[in-house]
């Protein structure tokens, strides 16, 4: 229930074995890595080089 309350529909995709702590670490880490990649590739593709 805690996980459900914290993550709403996303928790439906998640196995019930995962507690809130596991979810926090997973979401934060995956989020950070994905955000870093988006930042890097957005900068690369927005840069026009001769």
């Amino acid at each position: 229930m805690t996980t459900m309350a914290a993550f709403g529909p996303l928790a439906l995709l998640a196995p019930s074995e995962m507690g809130l702590g596991a979810w926090v670490f997973l979401v934060v880490t995956w989020g950070a890595v994905i955000a870093l990649n988006v930042f890097c590739f957005a900068r690369i593709f927005s840069k026009k080089r001769p």
């Binding site: 196995p15 995962m18 880490t29 995956w30 994905i34």
Partner: protein
């Protein structure tokens, strides 16, 4: 991005460079080592030291390597002897740089053997070779050992012929890529291999998360919970911090000289700050997202939550080449998913091996002025000779010895030397300026202080930690005898022997350890390989009893039937599970114990590695001497 500095080769496109550099970093460790380390070292909490080390060690070293590489490339140097010589006005600089040639070459000799295993297993999966049937039981643990040439039995592979065939193919494709050059070879490979690698990861992750429920002993969720549930108590353990720093080191391929070599093909005014960051980001994506979504969740679903800690701790090869095939063969679609899994590992290794071999190519081309074809032939010959030595010497510890020096200690020593040259010889301010020449991003000033003060201290701490943990406590400097065992003719038995985790009380475990110490002592005393053959009886319920033990006298003194029986149960965790024809009781079974004397092979390996390093230094001395001689006569 297509004009070559100093008439050297150059990358064809920026995205090609990023894919190639990401391919250098992304390796087997991303998919196998990371989840194992995370699971064993605090789960989610492991990510705290891991990310901290990424910021304080990984990214700084990445930028240092890119800066050194591009700077060296400006003067026509693709490898660290020439690069360091330009940065540090000392006759010693080029000899320190020799480590950046010898280290990657030694590393690639045994890494290619692993790469060959992945290619072979992709083929075995495609053929369904290890599926097993009522007529042919396949014990995947022994199957791997026999294939590698490390087993005392020959149930599945009569010798090293199969492994050699795949090793030769692997080396051949690597050499072809290197022969074709930076743009037409390495970059072209990366443009195909990295997208394929991502595609395979997605297919396998989807497969794992859609495994039919109730077919295994656990769930995918238990695997994710194992990996991500934080255990903050582990943060007080120095070993966890050391493991995190080590993982960052391995995953970013720092200390091989390959990043520097790739960067040397970048033009002076092209960005390296964002490129370096993107390389690290892509690598981390594969490691953190896919590394945690495939092997461990699959293992938890199949083997159950109670086994997952053992599997995570069993080592990368066991996770990838024993546990994963075990899971994949239990579900439909082995030929497809198994082939994809091993091709994924193969491509991850392939893009890394060409990167690690490229410094040697570049050295021969840039410094010795050899043609690319001549350099490729020379590297290929050295490769086949060296890797053959690894394959033959594996059973006596050559592989592990090379991994310890070239794949662990050497990397941190070389990185420490490199960062010191960057800070003190080249000067930090100049290095910072060099990093930002043509940069598409401004690296936060915070990293200036990190590179100058924190990274070297961290490197020293890792060096100290590994020296204490592995060299001193783990007795890595003292050649340890290796004990390997297996069941003769097990493929024809109606059941499967399992080598589980050690069982029994503390006293029994202590006794089992005493037996192993006794075996090692006997080998040391005899100064040669010893072997014992234990005859086992298995009754209709799978109970195992030792009938008799035959073999070398020295070994029999410590491995009588009673001790052998306890050792098999407690230390080896041997059990027998009837799988087919339950009514049939197998005839007496022969269990072979091979105790190998490793000291001669380990000392030969050390000698060869040292000789290779010294030989490289002499070659450098000759080349530089010839160059200064030519300059003098020119004047």
């Amino acid at each position: 991005m297509n004009s070559a500095p100093q008439g050297r080769e150059a990358w064809g496109s920026r995205i090609g460079l990023i894919l190639a550099a990401a391919g250098n970093a992304i390796g087997i460790g991303n998919l196998l080592r990371f989840p194992g380390q995370a699971g064993q070292n605090g789960g989610g909490a492991f990510l705290i030291p891991y990310l901290l080390c990424l910021v304080l060690l990984g990214l700084p070293m990445m930028w240092v390597a890119w800066t050194i590489g591009r700077h060296g490339g400006k003067f026509g140097h693709g490898t660290t002897p020439g690069m360091f010589d330009r940065m540090w006005r000392s006759p010693a600089a080029k000899y320190v740089g020799a480590v950046g040639i010898a280290l990657p070459m030694i590393f690639v000799l045994y890494y290619t053997y692993i790469e060959a295993w992945c290619l072979a297993y992709a083929w075995f999966s495609f053929k369904g070779d290890f599926v097993g049937s009522a007529e042919r039981t396949v014990d995947l643990r022994n199957y791997l050992l026999e294939f590698q040439g490390d087993a005392p039995t020959a149930n599945y592979f009569p010798g090293l012929g199969t492994a050699f065939t795949f090793l030769a193919i692997t080396i051949a494709v690597n050499v072809v890529v290197l022969w074709r050059g930076v743009s037409r070879g390495i970059e072209a490979l990366a443009k195909v291999a990295i997208p394929l690698l991502f595609l395979f990861c997605v297919i396998l992750a989807v497969r794992v998360f859609t495994l039919p429920e109730g077919t295994g002993r656990g769930t995918v969720g238990e695997g994710l919970a194992f990996l991500w549930t934080p255990d903050f108590s582990k943060l007080g353990d120095f070993g966890v911090w050391l493991a995190a720093a080590g993982q960052i080191f391995f995953t970013l391929s720092i200390g091989f000289g390959s990043i520097e070599c790739y960067a040397s093909y970048v033009r002076e005014e092209d960005d390296i700050a964002l490129t370096g960051l993107t390389t690290a980001a892509t690598n981390e994506f594969v490691e953190i997202v896919f590394g945690s979504a495939i092997a461990i969740p699959a293992a938890a679903a199949f083997f159950g939550a109670e086994s997952i800690a053992d599997i995570a701790g069993s080592g990368s090869f066991n996770i990838g080449m024993v546990s994963m095939p075990e899971i994949l063969r239990a579900y439909p679609g082995l030929k497809f998913f198994g082939t994809i899994w091993f091709l994924l590992l193969f491509f991850a290794a392939f893009t890394s091996s060409v990167a690690v071999a490229q410094p040697v190519m570049a050295f021969l081309q840039d410094e010795a002025k050899w043609k690319r074809s001549s350099a490729a032939i020379a590297v290929g010959l050295l490769w086949i000779l060296g890797s053959s030595f690894v394959a033959f010497g594996l059973r006596h510890g050559a592989f592990d010895e090379m991994d310890f020096w070239a794949g662990q200690m050497g990397l941190v020593i070389f990185s420490l030397l490199e960062v010191c040259i960057f800070i003190f010889a080249f000067k930090m301010g100049r290095g910072w300026e060099e990093l930002h020449r043509g940069a598409d991003i401004r690296v936060p000033r915070f990293f200036y202080g990190v590179v100058k003060y924190v990274t070297p201290v961290l490197l020293l701490a890792i060096l100290g930690g590994w020296t204490y943990v592995d060299a001193y406590k783990g007795q890595k400097l003292d050649p340890q005898p290796r004990i390997k065992y297996g069941v003769v003719g097990e493929e024809k038995l109606p059941g499967l022997f399992e080598f589980g985790r050690p069982v029994g009380t503390g006293e029994q475990k202590g006794e089992a350890k005493a037996v192993e110490d006794g075996i090692k002592g006997a080998v040391r005393g005899a100064k040669r390989d010893l072997e014992a053959r234990i005859t086992l009886r298995v009754d209709g319920s799978g109970e195992i009893a030792v009938d008799r033990v035959l073999g070398n006298e020295e070994l029999l003194a410590v491995l009588d039937p009673m001790r052998a029986s306890r050792w098999l149960r407690s230390a080896v965790g041997l059990s027998y599970e009837i799988q087919h024809r339950p009514a049939a009781t197998p005839a007496p079974i022969e269990f072979v114990v091979a105790a190998r004397y490793t000291a001669p092979m380990i000392w030969i390996t050390r000698g060869l590695m040292a000789a290779f390093l010294v030989g490289t230094m002499i070659f450098i001395g000759v080349l530089w001497g010839r160059r200064s001689g030519a300059a003098d006569s020119g004047h």
